[in-house]
Each structure stands twice: as C-alpha cells, then as structure tokens.
Symmetry: C2
Subunit: 94 residues, 2 copies
C-alpha cells in the first residue's frame, strides 16, 4: 500500500512555500509571492494554514515604514517536509 501524503503539504502553493523555507532561513511575504507566482490572497491563506499547523512561524515587523511579514520553518515543519518527501519517493519511478 502506498503511504499517505500529508494533505497539508500536498498542495502546490504550500509545498512551494515549504520548499523555499527549507532552503533559506527566512523569507518574507513579498519574496514568497514573487517566487511562487501566487496571488496575495491565496498566499495569505496558505501561510496561515502552515502557521496553524506549526510548520512555520510568521513574524510581523516594519522595514522602515512599510510592514513586513517574515516566515520561517520550524523543526516540526522540517520533520513534516522530510516525511512528505520520503513518502513521495514511493510514488516516483526509481
């Protein structure tokens, strides 16, 4: 039987966010939006879902006078991502 794929990670946009955050210590909203090509609304919703799950942290601050939202992956998120990638291997040709 094929393993389950964490539904929270098996979403193009959430996977993209996690993939970016796995590779860099932090990324802000604007960067994530440009890199993923997502709309702001969609990105906002999916970031919140990842945050709720404890996969990422979200920090709001100001860069000069403009607001800034910084995302970071958590140890829980790293673990979940690794588990997902491993499960995914069973779906891909060897």
């Amino acid at each position: 039987m094929l393993p389950e794929l964490d539904p929270l990670l098996h979403s193009q946009l959430r996977l993209a966010v996690m993939s970016i955050l796995i590779g860099s210590p932090e990324a802000d909203f604007v960067y994530l939006r440009k890199t993923t090509g997502a709309t702001a609304g969609n990105l906002s919703v999916q970031i919140e879902k990842l945050r709720e799950a404890g996969y990422i942290t979200v920090e709001k601050s100001f860069r000069g006078k403009m607001p800034r939202t910084t995302c970071r992956i958590t140890p829980t998120g790293i673990k979940a991502f690794e588990t997902y990638v491993e499960a995914l291997q069973d779906y891909l040709p060897k």
Copy 2:
C-alpha cells in the same frame, strides 16, 4: 519561479494510479483499489478524470461472469507523468 504542477496529477489518488500504471502494463480496478487503499467511489471518479484527459484507457470486460475494468497508461499519460515528476524535482531538496 517554481514550475506548475499538473493539477490532474497533483492529487494523491490520481498520482498513485499513474504511478502504478507507469510500473506495469495494466492494472484492474480491484487491484488499484487494494493497492491505493481508496474507496471504490473515489477511485471510480479519479479513473474517469484520468481517462477524460487521455492519460489512461479503461477497458471493460468479463473474467468468467464477473465484470472487470482494466486500466492502461497512454503515451500522453506517460509524457504527462514524466513532466510532472521533473517539475516536482524543483520542489524537493537536492
């Protein structure tokens, strides 16, 4: 920018079906159901979507008196699967 992931393939169950069919020349409904662990209803729906897209063919016959539904991947399906797997690589750690 991260590449798009074919939404038709980026679904756990449809990906599972395609993954099985990539690895064997044919598989029947019962086998797919057991291997994926899906409910018959869900499998029926997802097989139909793959068939509509031209990714698989679906052949109905009888094994003795019992009906049998056999699925096979098409060249289009193989291509789509390969493209999907390649795009997916960009989401996974190197």
